[in-house]
């Protein structure tokens, strides 16, 4: 699909699935895009676990051969896919279309400003119980989108996972809902490597809902 065709489809409700790694996604992406990591081995399974079945998707992956493979996998899994963004972000920008960024935080920035953020941990609950950033809320990445979008917070959200794949997915869904969400790059791996404090909880802490 040409960039303007993608733009028109998005205006009609299609969702751009951006399958690039979180770093380039955070730097720049098609406004409203959801970051969903590519992997031939488990893409279908992860999509079935977490993506709404009633939406229409447009794939954005670079270079184009990845997008073609992703469309095949998603279509076979029963998802409705319109096509892919031909020529990627380079073509999108060459056609003068706007992009947006996802705010990034390092674990050091999170540690220094811990009282200013509401930390949301997007790993599975068993990982969360094992150890998490003190004061954080568990919101598994497989939760339905309306649950992610309905997280109540006075403070900006800081999204955490093991590294940044699941957290980037949840952060991007939140960004679509105009929520103030930042991605903590490096996640628990970097947090633990720095020796920063962790909290353990005996059972899953449920996130407050609107």
């Amino acid at each position: 699909m040409k960039p303007t065709e993608v733009q028109d489809a998005v205006a009609k409700g299609a969702v751009v699935l951006d399958m690039r790694p979180p770093k380039p996604f955070a730097k720049e992406h098609v406004p409203g895009a959801v970051n969903f990591q590519f992997n031939r081995a488990d893409l279908a399974e992860r999509a079935e676990m977490s993506l709404p079945q009633d939406l229409t998707y447009i794939v954005h992956a670079e270079p184009d051969p990845i997008a073609k493979v992703a469309i095949g996998i998603l279509s076979k899994a029963g998802f409705s896919v319109d096509g892919y963004l031909e020529g990627g972000l380079k073509q999108w920008k060459a056609d003068g279309l706007p992009t947006e960024a996802l705010p990034l935080l390092t674990v050091d920035e999170l540690k220094d400003g811990l009282d200013r953020y509401h930390v949301v941990d997007t790993r599975e609950s068993f990982e969360f119980r094992f150890g998490h950033v003190p004061g954080s809320t568990c919101l598994e990445w497989t939760e339905p989108w309306d649950q992610m979008e309905g997280l109540e917070s006075e403070k900006p959200l800081a999204l955490v996972c093991g590294d940044q794949v699941r957290s980037a997915y949840v952060a991007s869904v939140m960004q679509r809902a105009k929520m103030d969400a930042a991605l903590v790059f490096g996640g628990m791996v970097d947090w633990l490597e720095r020796g920063y404090p962790v909290e353990k909880s005996p059972k899953k802490a449920k996130a407050p809902r609107i």
Binding site: M19, R20, P21, K23, P24, Q37, F38, N39, R40, A41, A61, E62, P63, P65, I66, V69, K90, V165
Partner: protein
């Protein structure tokens, strides 16, 4: 660090992905057209890695390279040793001997190891997340497991051949002895070919990995004491020339189109 060896069995060819799981970046070394650029692109994507460069140890004569296509597809540089500038008819990003490339926490240092071809370069790899000591070396067609690259793949075009066969053999001997065998014993050896390939002699092992220490002790060609004895041994143990090598090399140099290779072969 992440390292993956891709094997194309019909030509006993090995290409490589080397990447950093933290930086989520990777480079591809010696990609082969028989596997196709998409193979490397999809493997990198499966690992969540962005391809940041394509390297070649040398301009190959026995298989069609897809380095140009892969670099273009990913909009990243195609790296070759600077001495290839006078040989190839397309633009690439030249590197010098001893140049260091950082792929996240992985360090790749170029070691010019001419002989098989004048521009031939090996890549010394260090995983700085573990140590500053090198861990492995991609030896291309200089050092194979159990053998060395053949120094006699000449095209009969003086402008391209640069060195004669005898000079190449001596140069190769010195490259392996003085440069590769000067590396620490523990360094692993990953070649561009293994047993069955016509780029080396009859003593190539089917095992596509070794160590500097093992090759120092048991590489038959390199156990010769003089460049002359080495050259004679390499000639005696050589295999027939690879199929279509002149046309393949011409394509890899950018002299003819890909169609021209197959048309001529039919």
């Amino acid at each position: 660090m992440i390292m993956k060896q891709f094997r194309f069995e019909p030509l006993a060819q090995a290409s490589y992905l080397i990447g950093c799981p933290r930086a989520k970046e990777a480079v591809i070394i010696d990609p082969i057209d028989d596997l196709g650029a998409e193979t490397y692109v999809l493997e990198a994507a499966d690992l969540g890695l962005t391809i940041t460069g394509v390297f070649e140890t040398h301009v190959h004569a026995d298989y069609i390279s897809c380095a140009r296509e892969l670099a273009e597809m990913n909009d990243v540089p195609h790296y070759l040793h600077e001495s290839a500038t006078d040989l190839v008819q397309y633009s690439f990003t030249p590197f010098k001997d001893g140049q260091v490339f950082e792929v996240g926490g992985v360090r790749i240092k170029t070691l010019h190891t001419p002989g098989h071809t004048p521009e031939h370069t090996s890549f010394l790899v260090t995983d700085t997340a573990r140590t500053d000591e090198p861990w492995c070396v991609l030896t291309g067609d200089a050092l194979f497991v159990g053998d060395v690259g053949r120094p006699d793949l000449l095209l009969g075009d003086q402008a391209l051949d640069v060195m004669d066969e005898a000079t190449r053999a001596e140069t190769l001997y010195r490259s392996v002895k003085d440069r590769l065998f000067a590396l620490p014993d523990h360094v692993e050896v990953y070649p561009c070919h293994y047993g069955g390939s016509t780029c080396g002699g009859v003593n190539m092992s089917g095992k596509a990995a070794s160590t500097i220490a093992f090759e120092k002790r048991f590489n038959l060609a390199m156990r010769k004491d003089t460049p002359e004895a080495f050259a004679a041994f390499v000639k005696e143990t050589a295999k027939p020339f690879p199929d279509d090598y002149a046309r393949i090399k011409s394509y890899n140099l950018g002299l003819i189109s890909k169609d021209a290779i197959t048309e001529a072969a039919v």
